[in-house]
Symmetry: C2
Subunit: 345 residues, 2 copies
């Protein structure tokens, strides 16, 4: 009897070991997408993942080619009432204003400090570039990353009164984790500034800096007076990772066509077209903001995150359209967990 | 007795399972760097890796931050008698010449076809850009990748009479694998064209396209007459990933400072400075070409891969200088294995 008991124990040990070292066990877990309601969107995602990961199946894709790209603003986190990077720039101008008394009489700074959207809009692209130059340049890449981290730790969203990096979509966090558990490499491909995104995306999305593609300004290598090399951010735009810039950015940074891509606006149209046009099974998805109560509702008429042409393309191309209100059980993680983790209370 | 035997079998099963799922077992293997002679360079590498991977040690670096960057030409593969990408361009011009009868009377093409280095040099940068435009642009990124693969499969190095992608350094292949087995993420950061490198580096170095950083030309997104999107290579340089461009490229593509970098020429100086200047333990290394018999011997006077300032910086900064003749047991993999794998015989 002692032998039998010992035998059972050893078998149990073997089972535990087997379980602990098995890979691709997402399907063995309870539910990898608990915040997704049952429906067409969820089913399309899980079917797609099952098909491309089934060894020997007609749609099998080797892990190295399982590239998934996600827009950020409006796809992984909220983009209303203004892009969060613009909120950052506005807060930076306010914080820096005491050191720049001349800004009171100068546009676009006066318009911004006096909350005069009409005057701000009148300064146009030139005004926007001046704000970017004042808040995003003339410092090292390290100093800029720190200013982003400080802002995330101290600022709050005007409507939700939560840190900006906690206003990330819980269902999309689950989708990112689900894809990675199935051998995908997840990338952000955003019109936002790459230096603005990298300091927090690893913590919040589990996406390391080298998998973040975005717009960028010129950066210059300099040897300082102390003999130490630095990288200085210049007030000159280098690359706009939006619209047709997205497939170009994907080619430049990733060098491989995604098999899955998610966006939420017309700025993502070309990325979705490029993804969908690849040979073999592909998934192109759109997050449709339909939930004014829990988040925001906007599409064809919105100035921020307009979704018009891409919504037509989705219908024509059979892309997935995620209806936020219908498809998502939860929108944001509970306060003070997930995205909020690591920021000050 | 039957119980005992069954018991032993199950224990054995448990041991096999445990062994098959253990990670980071590089040190348990015989010798991860068999082509490296015992010496200062080898010891510096293995000591460094041991220190940054020792959990709880003063120099421990989390896996996500174990970024290693390698120059390509002269660091991972041969760069003499001319950069292999130039050999590719020359071969392409020759292959395309029948379709371009005007080239016979036009520079730089005439100089190139007539093997007239003096006349070719006289066309200067403008001539070089015309060659690049003719051979690297006006086609889709996919078509260009295919032309690179075809060339590698059919061309031979003039001295070694081997495929170019078999003239990779066996000790460096071992170093790449050793680093990856220890949780490093290995990147190429090269002055070579990124579209020229990506089609073969995954097969030869085990480095996927998204971990290849290089110089690039403008690429344009277009919807073809068939409604299909394509990326067209334009005849315009966009980014030169050389000299001070290397830390800039590292910042742009990787977004994190390497803890280890290897180069072989003055074009790598700034990458090595940027790496060495980071806080914590860092390793900067140089491959010194000292072996005219097995490969080539050149440094301060060479027109290709000049190593002058970086050699002084290595001495001043205590960087590793790998002496090819002294430190490497083998230079290239045996013919028809490793790098040659997948190319036609």
């Amino acid at each position: 009897m002692a032998f039998v008991i010992r035998n059972i124990r050893v078998v149990w040990l073997a089972i535990v070991l087997l379980a602990s070292c098995s890979h691709g066990n997402a399907f063995a877990q309870s539910d990898p997408l608990p915040s997704w309601n049952d429906g067409a969107a969820r089913k399309a995602i899980t079917d797609f993942v099952a098909r491309v990961t089934t060894q020997g199946g007609a749609d099998f894709v080797p892990p190295a080619e399982r590239i998934a790209t996600f827009d950020n603003d409006g796809t992984l986190w909220t983009e209303q009432p203004v892009y969060f990077q613009l909120a950052f720039a506005i807060d930076r101008v306010k914080a820096m204003a005491p050191q720049h008394p001349d800004w009171k009489a100068r546009q676009p700074f006066n318009a911004l400090l006096e909350r005069n959207p009409k005057a701000l809009a009148a300064t146009g692209e030139k005004g926007l570039l001046q704000i970017v130059a004042a808040t995003h340049a003339g410092m090292t890449t390290d100093a800029f990353a720190n200013s982003v981290r400080d802002w995330l730790a101290t600022s709050r969203h005007p409507r939700f009164n939560r840190p900006y990096d906690s206003l990330v979509y819980q269902p999309m966090l689950e989708l990112l984790a689900f894809l990675r558990a199935n051998g995908f490499k997840t990338f952000v491909v955003s019109g936002g500034g790459v230096e603005f995104m990298r300091p927090w995306m690893e913590r919040v999305y589990g996406i390391p800096p080298e998998q973040v593609v975005g717009s960028s300004g010129i950066v210059k290598f300099q040897i300082g007076v102390d003999g130490k090399p630095t990288l200085m951010k210049q007030a000159k735009l280098e690359f706009v990772d939006d619209g047709p810039g997205k497939p170009v950015g994907i080619n430049r940074f990733i060098g491989r066509r995604p098999i899955l891509a998610f966006g939420n606006s017309d700025g993502d149209l070309e990325m979705l077209q490029w993804t969908a046009a690849g040979s073999g099974l592909r998934l192109a998805g759109i997050v449709h903001h339909t939930d004014a109560e829990r988040e925001y509702a906007y599409d064809r008429q919105s100035k921020i995150g307009r979704l018009d042409k891409a919504l037509d393309a989705a219908a024509a191309g059979g892309w997935i359209v995620v209806d936020m209100k219908r498809d998502w059980k939860e929108v944001f993680p509970p306060p003070m967990t997930a995205g909020a983790k690591g920021t000050k209370p």
